[in-house]
Symmetry: C2
Subunit: 360 residues, 2 copies
Amino acid sequence: MTRVRVPLPGRRYDVLIGAGIGAAAAGSIAAAISARRLLIVADARAWEHHGPPLHRTLRRTFDTAVVTVPPGESSKTLRSAERLFAACRDHRLGRDGAVLAFGGGVVGDLAGFVAATWQRGVDLVMLPTTLLAQVDSSVGGKVAVNVAGIKNLVGTFHQPRLVLADTDWLTTLSPRERRSGLAEVVKYGMIADRHLFERLERAGGGLLAASPEELVAIVAGCVRIKSAIVVRDEKDENRRLLLNYGHTIGHAFEAAARGRLRHGEAVALGMRGAARLAEGIGWLDPASRRRQDHLLDSLGLPNRFLGVGPAELEAKILQDKKVRDRKPRFVLTRSIGSASVAPPIAASRVRRVLADLTSS
Amino acid sequence: MTRVRVPLPGRRYDVLIGAGIGAAAAGSIAAAISARRLLIVADARAWEHHGPPLHRTLRRTFDTAVVTVPPGESSKTLRSAERLFAACRDHRLGRDGAVLAFGGGVVGDLAGFVAATWQRGVDLVMLPTTLLAQVDSSVGGKVAVNVAGIKNLVGTFHQPRLVLADTDWLTTLSPRERRSGLAEVVKYGMIADRHLFERLERAGGGLLAASPEELVAIVAGCVRIKSAIVVRDEKDENRRLLLNYGHTIGHAFEAAARGRLRHGEAVALGMRGAARLAEGIGWLDPASRRRQDHLLDSLGLPNRFLGVGPAELEAKILQDKKVRDRKPRFVLTRSIGSASVAPPIAASRVRRVLADLTSS
């Protein structure tokens, strides 16, 4: 088992990563929180695959209630949150209770929002079951729901008390989900870790069938990067923006595609667009841009999406939370492993890149 | 104008109190926040009385949109929050925007919840228009909505950047609203300020027609107490519980009465109950308990409420956020001006007090 600490002052917590560590989850959780009453919010599909043995061990230590949430972004709404608040009430979850999120990014964000606001905040434990959630969304305390179809429009910051990532849970992911998670792994390489990027290049498509040891090493590498960034900028004011590499255009694709693109697929498109913008303003050399393209290709991640038009994407980009004075801000790379927030980029240049990504 | 500072580390803010200071609100607000785009959330009745001149001055400095909220606790729901989120979106309120709450406790809590969660938090300015909001709910950062008819069940902490309390706004309050606000003023005297309590005793029923100077002094006195408590315990873990004097039984009355009791009326009943409990366990001498009763009587605040039964109140008390291991915790006074959290009290004793407060 690998332990990565997130050393936030006064609220430090551990991220435990290992193959099979879910079997000892009850002990790890009991050591991290004082609550003995748990509301378990679980992705319905992940719960079906991995819930029963986990629940057996948790029930020995905790007074539990389970609410399952249908897979997919459409579960991340205020309506779903309201359903979970009712479950908190029915389970008599007091301020000394805790919420446990078992699932991917949707469940983590939704259950995290509920934990952050139920009785003005109760403890939160994250058990991420997707690669994307293990490397990214379960760590860092961003919680949110979608409103009016706009992603993460309403939320807050609420750090978990513990993140426990059992890489065995990843074995039941579909190849598409796994590819989607790998897009975020590529992101970490691009923004902060040239060696990680080169490791991914060497493995290439073989990553889709990585060994348990390799998965643990990759997840831990990403979590270490994320932890370092979050500790320097918990509230997303500066350095944390770097984690948005590929997400400005990516979120626009994801929203416009209305469910036809997974988050990681949209981020892959966003990273391809960002690399083109970076190349266009002279930040990134063409060879590095091609290396990113080639790595994303080898992972089977999309290089274009014909289902939306560039004008719709441009409008969505202006709804991005990073927009100031109606100007989008892009995180771009200067080389593989080094990213910054770029100066404003001409709309014509952005439009050209969006047109490229949406035409055959 | 009186200025009371709330010196929270890194997020200190001012509470400005004065007769007629609303006329200069735009300048005070512009000095406190960098936002130039404002969503104004206003109590419909307060806005009718005092909105037009305020809006004229605000519009010169800010790009504003106004959403009015019907008066009353029934506006404090996730549904209302959703309506305000849509208004934020329509007004294109970015992270660099701000929410302004103009109204009483309901509007402050609701608009504060929206400010806390819209795009994971934007600036909040409080313009409290009721005595209750001026002395209590506008200061301290507690924001919430009601869920399943249970008060403040979902919320968070989000400190305002500025509180501006124009006591002229209080002139249009109904006598009942004014009495309700005075109940919270009595609370401050009981928990922390014997001199304030004696000042209230001297004024008695005359408080209902207090002069502008007297009102400013009373509001400032209460805000000073609240500020000192909040700074020592922002997240409601210990000292801040003292502000809940009268609120454990009070919230139960308020919920059970379903709109027939105002918050302050319910708190008055709660304080009467708390003083009886305190007397019963030997904390408060009978003469002090009678002084509190007499002061509440002179302000025309209720001494019983026949519309609910003690069993229903007891059940509601067990839903209180302070409950641990199914035991309610009461804030009680040892003397006028000094409160603490009391040890667990026998259910039979609580039941007797509740029976007294609900029978003629």
